[in-house]
Structure formats: C-alpha cells, structure tokens
Amino acid sequence: MTDVLNPAAGTASKADSSKRREPVGTSLSKASTGRIGRTIAYVLGALWLIPNLGLVISSFRPEKAVKTTGWWTIFQRPQFTLDNYKSVWGIGNVKGSDNLGHFFLNSLRITIPSVAISVGVAALAAYAFSWMKFKGRDWLFTTVVAMLIIPLQVALIPLLRLFTGGAHIGSFTIFPDLNLKNSIVTIWIAHTCFGMPFCIFLLRNFMAGLPREVMEAGKVDGAGHLTMFRKVVMPLSVPAIASVTIYQFVYIYNDLLIGRVFGGSKNAPIIAKLVDVAGTRGQSWHLLTAAAIISMITPLVVFFALQKHFVRGLLAGAVKG
C-alpha cells in the first residue's frame, strides 16, 4: 500500500507531489495543532481496523472457541485452526460443508465476461462519440450520461421478465422467449446494461481528449475507423481502459443484488451465497468468518496489485461523475 495513498498519484499529476505543503515558516504552528490532528487520525485508523481484525482472527479460531468466547481472548489463549476454511471450501468430509469453491468460481464466471463485454462494447461507443461524425451525436451522448442516475431497482424486474418470457405487444412477439431463466448469460447482460453509462462516459471523456493531430495523420494515411480504433485509439487509451476495467471488475464482483436476483441457486456469485449463509445459518459464526474472508480475497488482491489504476478510476469516476 504505497504510492496510491499519496493522493498525488491518484490524480496522476506529477506537479502535485512537488508541492507538498511543508513550508519552513509554519512548522511551529503545525506542531501545536499537529498533536490533536495526529491523535484524531490514529484513533480513526484504529477504529477502522478493529472490525477487520475481529473477522480475520475469528476465521482462524476453532468452532467451539468462536461460539463461546470473543475473538479478543485470543491474546490470552491462542488457538488457531484452518478447519473453518476447509469446511466452507468443501475440502474433506467436514460436517456441514458448504462447497463455497463452486460459488467462488461462479463469481469469476460472472465477473470476467461481464467486464470484458461491457468495456469492449463501451469502448466502441466511446470511439464513435468522440471521433465519428453523425447527426444527433451530442444529444445521444447526453442521454447516455443521463442514464447514469437510473437506479438498478427501477429496471431490474422488467429486465428479468424479458429473459424469462420475452417481450410481446398483444400476441405479437417483438423479443423471443429465449428461456434464459437463471442462465449465466442473463447476468452478463444485466451487468453490461447497468454498467454501460459509466463505461461510455469515462472512456469517451478520455478518448475525446486525445490529440487531434494523431487522428488526422491516421486519416491521411487512409486508415478506416476500425484501423484507427485498433491501432491508434485503443493503444493510446490504455490507462483509461485499465481504470474502467478494474473499477468494473471490483464493482461487479462485489455486487449482491444482480447476482441474487439473476443467479438463482446454482449460478449465484459468492457474495450472494455469503448473504444466504449469514441468513440461513444464523448459528454458524465460525463458517461465516471464513466465507466472508474468501469472498473478500479477490477484490483485495486486485486492489493491491493494480492500486494505481484502481484509484485513478475511482477518482475519475468521482470527480467527473
């Protein structure tokens, strides 16, 4: 956890880091307010840490210990085991095995194609919105951006019906019943639809800012739009595409609602399964800990490995959204 949390890296502006504020003349006054400020910051840090700590420690404690004593007693009587993990993952013949491994894979099955499809399709649209000329372009783009504010809940149920029954006007079928109930394809499509305004918005803002000269040069060479898209615009847009991809990945992976509604019992992602375990197995606290940790590993790994892009995506989405 390094340079990202220096916000200058997040805004991707080198100039910022050179002007970190430590003027010599104010060091005295800084020291006096510094103590209170420092205390507040440390206390907040500790408060934010404690719940995490409780979960992590509990996940390694034996079932009996979890149920009869608090996790903080571990400091007096250390007891560690991997049984909780084995049990939820479905290794061996542990009693009450949940086979969370299946749902973990479901999450990947859902997330990877959803991200690829939404970013790929959005990149095409973003290119069209920034570099193709057609009537009503700005109007259409504004409409797309306006859709950012439609809450998921407003569109979810009719979309679900479309997949399970098709669309009809009277007896005339305008969209066939594809019988996709609880198919993983429906989850891809749902995520693609709901993530589309954000992806287009972010990518278009970046692509429209690419230097005009590069594009003109390509045109002179007689390159068509597909060539321009593939050979010029996509390579230049890698930072924006990386940010959107990672943002979408974490967002889709962490989603509960779509997974729960569209996944059914077989295709549910791990987050939906986790909430189920929390609801139906009220007494299995020891299993809940391990299940929760497993569900959190992927986004944390993505964050630590790709933090720069991740934060840039967050900042771009926030500052411009």
């Binding site: 956890m1 797309v144 929390a278």
Partner: protein, 342 residues
C-alpha cells in the same frame, strides 16, 4: 477440477461471442460504398451499447413507472392512479421506510464528509499517513455485503459471545438498560435505555447500520478530498499565512472554499449511494426490526410478498428522490467551472 474447466469454458464462450459479434458487424459495413460506409460504421460502433441501454435500462424503467400506477395483480394490472404512492406515505410501515432512507442519506453523508475532511486535513504529512489512509481505504475494496458481515461480529448478541459491542458495554459496567449485562440485542432493538422511538422514527439499530455505511464509505471520500486538499495552490495558503491567518483559519477560509466543488461531488456520490443501500441491510438484519429502507423494502415487497405495483412505486420513488441531488450537483459544478474560468 471439473468445475474449473467448466468455468474457463463459460468465460471463453462469453469472450468468443463478443469477438464474433463485433467482427461480423464490422465485416458487413466494410462492403458498403463510401458515403454510406461512414454512417453504417457509426451504427455498428454504437448499436450494441445503445441497444443494451435501450432494451436493458430505458424500456424496463418505463415499464416500472407504468407498473407503479397499477395494482399488484400481475394478470389484471388495473390502473389505480397514485394509490401505491399514497400507501407508502400514509401507512406506518411505509413512512418508516421513507424516513429511514432519508436518515441514511442525511446522517451518512454528513458523517462521511466531515470524517473525510478531518483526515484530509490532519493526516497530511504525519508519520504513518499512508497506514492511516490504507486502514480507512481497505473497506472500500470489500463488498458492502462483506462489510455487513464484518460488523455482525461487532453487534452480535447472546447466546453467541462473538459480539464486541456487548462485551464492551458489559465490561464498562453500564446500567442493564444500556446493555450492561451483555444481553442486549443490538440489531433487533430499536430503543435503548428508557428511550423507545415512535413507530415512524428510525431506531437505534438503524443508526448502528449507518455506522457500517460510514465505515465503508469514508475511505473513498478521504482519498478524493485528500487529493483536492493537496491540489490547493501553495501560494494561496502562504498569502493567507502572511496576512496572519492561523492554520485553522487558512483551512476554513482558503482550503474549504477552494475545494468546494469536490466536496459537493463527494457529497452527491454519498447521497446516491445512501439512497441505494441494500447490501448492508440485507446482510445484517434483512430489513427486519424496523431497519428497512426503500431499496430493501423494494426487494422484500417484490420477491417475498409478490407486490408488483407497490414495489414498482418504491423503485420509482427512489429514482425521484435521487434526481434533485444530481441536478444540484451539476449546477454546483457548473458554477465552480464558471468561477474558475472567470
């Protein structure tokens, strides 16, 4: 092993389908003569996304609005005017749900913005700045449902002994009415001590859940506001200091006004997030014990009680509530841009 193989297969099918669609569509347009080609290509580039938005977002939203004026019977779908909306605002449960939602929005947003500004102001350049900010940021990567589970271990009540809060109130020897015997059911009780809130006011447990929201949301807000605070030109702060401003005055009179538009953006994002909160409540109380908000109630009413019209009205209401905040945000942004330009 078989599972992993089928996972790879499914992913492959998804990616393959995407590639094939794009190639076929483009291939169709390359064959067209010059003047038409440009237009056809625009259609090809835009078609998949516009179609997805139209069929997956726009039309469904219209259908939900339509359904919100109809009764709950899927077969008859009789037009009943504003009856669903009236029920939300006149029934005790409905009013509690709406008030709870606004409590989330107001309390959550104010707390997150103040905490984030505090950290952005004080954590700047102290020892361990990065560690503090990392600790605040970790919950951002964790799903909101996961955050709910993490906090279940804080609020858990007897018979289990995992609850930290119960242990603290017991250890602190608070009076029994404040949870001093370690038996208090934090997430299912609306009142505390002698206080019991009226039926249409949010209870203690709602505020406990809002704490989870604050815990999960402060990291991003801090990150954005820190970046903004560090972006304030050095010369402005120096000038204020030369005029005799203290650190505190410089922060309130120079830094805060300068980063106002970022604060508005962060607040708007938090407001929208608070309106839509479902995961935290679903993972903890499931909306029971008077903690339900609009998003949770929408799920319960549709999926558990089959109330089509009523749940649609809830969804529409959520949409309607969000709009003014987004408009205000746009206006504030535009004003900020004009100020910067002028």
């Amino acid at each position: 092993m078989k599972d992993i193989w089928s996972t790879l297969q499914t992913i492959g099918i998804g990616l393959g389908a995407l590639a094939v669609t794009l190639i076929v569509m483009y291939g169709l347009t390359v064959k067209l003569p010059g003047r038409w080609r440009e237009r056809a290509q625009a259609v090809v580039f835009l078609f998949p996304s516009i179609f997805a938005l139209f069929a997956g977002l726009f039309v469904p939203a219209l259908k939900t609005i339509y359904a919100s004026f109809r009764d709950d019977d899927v077969r008859s779908t009789k037009y009943i005017g504003l009856k669903n909306f009236r029920e939300i605002f006149t029934s005790k449960d409905g009013r509690l749900v709406v008030i709870t939602t606004f409590t989330w929005v107001i309390v959550g947003t104010i707390a997150i913005v103040i905490l984030a500004l505090t950290v952005a102001r004080f954590a700047d350049a102290i020892r361990g700045e990065r560690i503090v900010k990392s600790l605040l940021f970790i919950p951002t990567c964790v799903s909101l449902a996961g955050a709910g589970i993490i906090w279940k271990f804080v609020y858990a009540s007897p018979p289990t002994k995992v609850g930290l809060l119960s242990a603290i109130t017991k250890g602190a020897r608070l009076p029994t009415s404040l949870g001093g015997d370690g038996q208090y059911l934090w997430l299912s009780e609306r009142g505390l001590g002698g206080i019991t809130p009226p039926a249409t006011a949010p209870g203690l447990n709602t505020f406990l859940l809002i704490i989870i929201f604050i815990w999960a949301g402060t990291g991003v807000a801090t990150m954005i506001l820190s970046a903004a605070v560090k972006g304030v030109p050095e010369s402005l702060i120096e000038a204020a200091k030369i005029d005799g401003a203290t650190d505190r005055q410089a922060f309130y009179k120079v830094t805060l006004p300068y980063i106002r538009s970022t604060i508005v953006t962060v607040a708007t994002l938090t407001v929208v997030g608070a309106f839509k909160t479902y995961d935290i409540i679903a993972a903890t109380t499931g909306g029971n014990a008077g903690t339900s908000n609009i998003a949770t109630e929408w799920y319960t009413k549709f999926f558990l009680q089959d109330r089509e019209g009523y749940s649609s009205a809830l969804a529409v209401l959520m949409f309607v509530f969000v709009i003014p905040f987004v408009v205000l945000n746009r206006r504030a942004q535009r004003r900020a841009e004009e100020m910067m330009a002028g």
